[in-house]
């Protein structure tokens, strides 16, 4: 399995929600790494699990989130770093 960088995951997430981000007044090209997708209403509780499923399919991995700090669940930078680390 080739390692995936947290940047690739970040880009994947931002592309996935680009329209919603724009609707919310955000520029997908300049997203604050500390942005909380759930806090900003970009994803809801249902969307979180969908997102995890989408990441699993896109990168061909099975994610293990047991080590993730819940407060980081949808905060872009720490969330992507955690996933990159757990895949690598």
């Amino acid at each position: 399995m080739s390692p995936v960088s947290s940047n690739e995951i970040r880009q994947f997430i931002i592309d996935r929600y680009a329209d919603t981000l724009r609707d919310g007044g955000y520029d997908p090209a300049h997203i604050d790494p500390d942005m909380d997708l759930m806090g900003e209403g970009i994803v809801d509780s249902f969307g979180v699990i969908e997102l995890i499923g989408a990441i699993e399919r896109r990168f061909g991995v099975e994610l293990d989130l047991s080590g993730l700090n819940p407060e980081h669940l949808t905060v872009i930078a720490p969330f992507c770093e955690y996933i990159a680390k757990s895949i690598g």
């Binding site: 509780s45 699990i49 969908e50 499923g53 099975e62 994610l63 989130l65 047991s66 819940p70 669940l73």
Partner: protein, 529 residues
């Protein structure tokens, strides 16, 4: 036995004033503190509404200290509590509040803006108490038809006077979704819930060292287990933050929980996200599942993940007060009783009686399947201000002298003291081409053949005669060889029961109570071309 629901909490507050009664929003609230907050709310209700009818106070709050102090405060005032959920649509909340006839509402800080929208449409004059909000000028201005009290307006705790309710007075009024779309209010009396709490604290040997999960929303009756079984014995109720509810595993370990109680669907998701690895939750003593069918695969995975805990499947409609049958999961002893890959619901707790009947309400033979009727000390007072619905659901079967509640659930009648098995809702039987079909049976086969735990079968499309066929929803990724899955399922089921379509979802939607949301699935089907 005959005592108010809050008696255990008051006793624990005397015995363990400094122990944590509650952990919420990252803060720990000691018994003495929570008791004082509740007494101040109770004294305020008593002072401002000396005569009120009905004796009901609502709480509009969510996962905050005030949410819990509000429930206790309403009860200490002598009223029953009507829990409202700020996460539910405003219209629904307004309906429940109006329908209840509650005269007072306790609102927490975070829910105040939402409550304004609720109260604006209310015609009855309400006493609105904001126990942790001193800045209510704006609210007062925008709601001139109601009396608004701020934190500084609360009475001192010493002003509270005991006004013990009779055992038959409602302790809580909960609204369950009605098949007609109008929520039904179930009124549960003090004696009902006290009888249940007495049983479970003994069954689970609860002590002041226990730490309970509080995953259930306050509008869902298992929350009354979480709170009052804990408080009865001086234990701590641990309420997750919103995000922690999506990562329950971290919550269990961070809070060092000893008693876990929630829906199987959440366990299915945890298993899928790698949160049920063996030995992950060593602190748990009890792992309780309820509100929907518990798949064997999930019970096994959970038992391994929480190796020091005993897994139990509990069953009970709101009308019978939280839970009235219990089954202790044992990988060997339970096995012969598992049907359709589902753990049995077990046997009634002492005092509760079960009757399994056919369509004419006559008892079926042991080992036969029929509708479950039950009665006993946990049988609630019925539907609030709805004698017609109460009469339809609380019935006297032929040849019996007493009233039973019709659960609408199909079970296999116990044989020789064995457990009862759950066979799905009466309404989950669908008719396809004249055949009566149990959706649970299809779900069991699809679960096994797909190797996925989250499966819901639905009759679709709806026709005048019943349904045209079956659609299966699966939680997970579609396999490469979908045709092979269909073939394997087809080899085990008669043709009319084989799903015409397998729809894979990352997650099967859950309703606010954490159960699979069949209405949402129907909307997905309706949106299909």
């Amino acid at each position: 036995m005959s005592r108010p629901l809050y008696e255990g909490f008051l006793a624990s507050s005397q015995r363990f004033p400094d122990r944590s009664a509650l952990n919420v929003c990252g803060q720990s609230v000691a018994y003495a503190d929570l008791c004082l907050r509740a007494r101040r709310i109770a004294a305020t209700i008593q002072r401002h509404l000396p005569r009120r009818d009905p004796r009901l106070t609502a709480v509009f709050a969510y996962r905050s200290p005030t949410a819990y102090a509000g429930v206790l405060g309403a009860l200490l005032s002598g009223d029953g509590v009507v829990p409202l959920n700020p996460m539910l649509p405003v219209e629904r909340t307004r309906f429940m509040l109006a329908r209840s006839g509650a005269c007072a509402v306790i609102v927490d800080d975070a829910s105040a803006p939402d409550f304004q929208a609720v109260a604006e449409g209310m015609s009855a004059r309400l006493l609105l108490i904001f126990p942790n909000n001193d800045d209510v000028g704006e609210i007062r201005e925008s709601l001139p038809g109601h009396d608004v009290l701020a934190a500084r307006d609360l009475e001192p705790g010493g002003q509270w006077r005991r006004d013990d309710p009779p055992p038959d007075r409602g302790a809580y009024l909960l609204f369950t979704s009605g098949s007609t779309g109008t929520p039904k209010g179930v009124m549960v009396a003090h004696r009902n819930i006290v009888s249940f709490i007495d049983y479970v604290v003994e069954r689970y040997g609860i002590t002041e060292r226990d730490r309970f999960s509080q995953m259930h929303d306050p509008t869902f009756d298992p929350a009354y287990f979480d709170m009052f079984a804990a408080w009865e014995r001086g234990a701590c109720v641990c309420c997750p933050t919103k995000k922690e509810t999506y990562m329950p595993g971290t919550f269990i370990n961070r809070m060092q929980l000893t008693v876990w109680f929630f829906t199987p669907s959440t366990a299915v998701i945890m298993k899928r996200l790698g949160m049920l690895k063996p030995g992950t939750y060593p602190t748990l003593r009890w792992s309780l599942f309820g509100s929907e069918a518990l798949p064997v695969s999930v019970a096994e995975a959970w038992a391994a993940a929480a190796p020091n805990s005993i897994v139990e499947n509990v069953y009970g409609p709101t009308e019978l007060t939280v839970a009235c049958t219990f089954h202790r999961w044992d990988p060997v002893a339970s096995r012969p009783y598992c049907e359709q890959g589902i753990v049995p619901i077990g046997s009634p707790n002492p005092g509760m009686r079960a009757l399994v009947v056919d369509e004419e309400l006559r008892e079926v033979a042991p080992g036969e399947v029929g509708e479950l009727l039950m009665n006993g000390p946990q049988m609630s007072l019925g539907y609030w201000r709805d004698p017609d619905k109460t009469a339809a659901a609380f019935i006297t079967p032929p040849g019996h002298a007493d009233t039973y509640y019709r659960t609408g659930d199909r079970v296999r009648r116990a044989v020789d003291g064995g457990p009862m098995t759950y066979r799905g809702r009466v309404d989950f039987q669908v008719k396809i081409l004249g055949h009566r079909v149990e959706l649970g049976e299809i779900e069991a086969v699809v679960r096994e053949e797909a190797g996925l735990d989250g499966v819901v079968a639905m009759g679709w499309p709806l026709t005048d005669m019943g349904v045209g066929g079956i659609v299966a929803f699966l939680e997970g990724s579609a396999p490469g060889e979908l045709a092979a899955l269909a073939r394997r399922v087809g080899s085990r089921l008669p043709a009319h029961m084989v799903p015409r379509k397998f729809m894979f979802l990352d997650r099967i939607p859950l309703n606010p109570n954490g159960k699979y949301d069949r209405h949402a699935l129907r909307r997905i089907l309706e949106a299909q071309p």
